[in-house]
Symmetry: C2
Subunit: 139 residues, 2 copies
């Protein structure tokens, strides 16, 4: 059985030119049943390029590496530098073909491990009126 | 250094009566800098009650254990039964006091390990027009 707090990749990001897909491994494909009824998903991937490095110990950054952005705690950013290397994207589903979920392109690398997929549920996930700091508007 | 695909809890859910807080461990508290400028966060916790069990191998469920809901792949549900035990909540921040983020109550147990916090950014996270299956409306 899987160790406590161990993450098991369930798939991988496939990027070919402008086309992006989430390819789910065969062993997990049964978990996709019914996903085609959702227009959007919440996708969690792993920032594998920062794995095993000291970046997991960094707790404050200048967002997007831009020193004009104030020094900010990583939990107040979407930075790929953080204790747990979880990336989160709300994605529009274009189509699902077999084990592959075609999505509108996101800022993820080809080969990024896929950790979880959840349906996007506007009643609990959509907060258009949420507010944040002024510097973020310039991103 | 942390192992590949290993998750490190950064804090814990503190529930006292109707009051709910995310308590961040001292070692990670520097990561909170600037979070007080956000009205909402995306909170990732660990479904620790399902750890080390066969539940991590279940790929299809009747959502909320209600057999009137169609058999559905776990990636099309928010079920606590899934290969990687990540729970995701969009939370309203009430206040931040030291290491504690007071939030509007969510469906998480007291003592749930906290894995990640991200700022909620409406431009990329709010999709009010997202659609899903009809049975979900009854949840």
């Amino acid at each position: 059985m899987t160790d406590r707090f161990a993450i098991v990749p369930i798939g991988v990001i496939d990027k070919q030119g402008d086309t992006m897909a989430v390819r789910i491994y065969d062993a997990f494909a049964d978990g996709l049943l019914g996903l085609d009824q959702h227009s959007h998903i919440i996708l969690t991937t792993w920032f594998h390029k920062n794995d095993g490095s000291e970046k997991r110990q960094t707790l404050q950054v200048h967002p997007r590496g831009d020193r004009r952005n104030p020094l900010t705690g990583v939990f107040a950013t979407r930075s790929p530098v953080r204790p747990n290397l979880l990336a989160l994207f709300v994605c529009k589903v274009l189509s699902i073909e077999g084990n592959r979920i075609f999505i509108d392109p996101i800022e993820a690398f080809d080969g990024s491990p896929v950790i979880d997929i959840k349906p996007y549920i506007p009643r609990i996930d959509a907060i258009p009126e949420a507010t944040g700091p002024a510097w973020r508007e310039k991103e």
